[in-house]
Symmetry: C2
Subunit: 344 residues, 2 copies
DNA sequence: CTGAAAGCGCTAACAC
DNA sequence: GTGTTAGCGCTTTCAG
């Protein structure tokens, strides 16, 4: 029987012939306090009426919500999408509903987004945004407000990241050491001259990967000449353009071509591979390409990308637990995976 | 000055020296009714106190929320991720916050998910799940409840889809005609024997694309023999396995290999390409492969995939507007894009 | 064990 | 214009 409007607890209580309080206790409250018979009656009534508790009302009455806010740069980016998937799973396990807001990578929007998030009075919030180096402490203030409001806050950070915001749990992703390990592996594989498609150097993640890679090379006595460090947008197209710049310079005789190129992101690496191919060269043979992340969606690109695998879904899940205080801690390591794109 | 606990409207009103009602009107209510001076005072107080309205409280008081619930199969799937991105953008423009719940493609979980969604009392809900043919009307009932609760509901449906659920706006995606057009284009390109990697035939989307393709071929006097219609999981691996089955049969002499294979999804197509390559054949040359969706992430696979482009983000955005009643309607067409994977 | 009643933070009549 | 005062739907003392 479709009801008009919406069914309230009062309706259920009335139908079950008990008080509002009893109905509430039967349906949600601390169990054990309700007689079996009343309990059954209430449940029956609820079922018949198709009652579903209004979580907003519960939230104001209880003073705490069941919302977990996830702030990401761009949900269409597979990196964030994978993290979101893990976060949703973990939140679900904790009985929380995930609200996703996206900054679009825009720092100014971040402020607004955080304000909206604050209005949600979330039980926990996970910040999976591309942190900007020299971050405006405005953002810090907004986060402080969240913390003061009682929300557990976790943020993905890099192992190069400087000051941690007080009150927020940082889940450190070892971009620095991962990139360093990759550099070492590539050198041992025989590569001896490298360029870095560095992405946006003001982004903490991009910066850490760049620094790590350079440090890894340095440990083997190698370095990357300045003209071979090319910044760009932190996207597939950015990688394409950066690689194109390198190729153009080499074609113009301005500089030789490196044996291997490290793109700080798989997506950028894919762009680079395309650029190489467009010049009539063979990626992986004429010039090696390595990425970072090992996003699953790119598993079938040819040549298969050497990269640093990050357990993205796991990261999302752990960030949630971290925000809820149910994850002990510990950093997340990447795993170097060598494939055809750097096989020579 | 970090406040302890949380700031309420009452705090703001007190600090501004006005009543609760005035503060409410100044901050949210129907403007115009508050004197400029009071208005300024209230805003100043709000700013100083870092006040952010509690949306849950507003929701119960107003009897309507600012939540838009998006139900997707799997947010890590680029198809859904793109739709989600568009939905988030459109919702944001409408001042709504998006809550994403994922069914994981599990029909039984769909029930639970819908129950949770109902508890949110969302202003609107977008169902972007893989509809199952012969759907359990249980789901229909759950949706009914949502509609009865006053939520605007929109669902992505196929042009082959049968009964529309009363009360829900169906945004029809022309899978059927898109696949038919693709078939026609491939025939005109010179292909004359086809296999279909049909995915999960119980999913409305997969089914429509299969039917459309077959119909498109029929229009040119061609057909697909039964043994060349191979069902599988609706995933990359499913496509891989299905193609592998085809290749194995051909290698065993059991059947010849078709000139061209249509995978009902780009992801499946990519899996098929990989399988072809593993057999030492050249995809696009020895056997053509076409997909559906044109997911951006796969733009750089080699050979570039012939496919049917769907404006995924746009679809997400329109579904939101549809649910809100601000989109007039009209189906979404796919656009055939021929590329190297079927060039011969 | 159960009911009556007092909130939770905010909005919306309804007066003044 | 602004303040008073009921609620919104639900939880939670506090008595019985």
């Amino acid at each position: 029987m479709p009801e008009r409007g919406t069914v309230t607890l009062a309706d259920v209580a009335e139908r079950a012939g008990v008080s509002l309080a009893t109905a509430s206790r039967a349906l949600n409250g601390s169990a054990r306090k309700v007689r079996q018979e009343s309990l059954d009656r209430v449940h029956a009534a609820a079922r018949e009426l198709r009652y579903t508790a209004n979580v907003q009302a519960q939230a104001v009455a209880r003073g705490t919500t069941t919302t977990l806010a996830l702030v990401v740069g761009d949900i269409a980016d597979p990196y964030f999408a994978a993290i979101a998937a893990g976060a949703i799973r973990a939140a679900d396990e904790a009985g929380l509903v995930v609200t996703i807001t996206s900054t679009g990578g825009d720092a100014s929007r971040e402020q607004d987004v955080l304000a909206v998030v604050a209005g949600l009075r979330p039980r926990a919030v996970v910040l999976a945004v591309s942190r900007r180096l020299g971050a405006t402490s405005d953002t810090g203030a907004a986060v402080q407000a969240l913390v003061a409001g009682g929300a557990g806050v976790a943020a993905l950070v890099s192992d190069l990241d400087g000051g941690s915001v007080p009150g927020v749990e940082g889940l450190v992703i070892r971009n620095l050491s991962g990139a360093a390990a990759l550099a070492g592996a590539l050198v041992e594989q025989g590569h001896d001259s490298f360029a870095v498609l560095a992405g946006d150097p003001t982004l903490a993640t991009a910066h850490a990967r760049y620094e790590g890679f350079v440090a890894g090379l340095a440990a083997h006595g190698l370095s990357v000449p300045d003209q071979w460090v090319v910044p760009s947008a932190f996207t597939r197209d950015g990688g394409h353009q950066a690689m194109e710049a390198l190729l153009a310079a080499a074609a113009g005789g301005a500089a030789p071509l490196p044996r291997c190129v490290f793109a700080v992101t798989d997506l950028m690496a894919v762009g680079a591979v395309a650029a190489i191919r467009e010049r009539g060269l063979v990626p992986g043979v004429d010039v090696g390409v390595a990425g970072f992340d090992d996003v699953r969606m790119l598993a079938d690109v040819v040549p298969a990308l050497s990269t640093v695998r990050l357990p993205l879904e796991e990261i999302g899940a752990r960030a949630v637990r971290r925000a809820l205080g149910t994850d002990a801690g510990g950093a997340v390591d990447g795993e170097v995976v060598l494939r055809a794109s750097t096989a020579r």
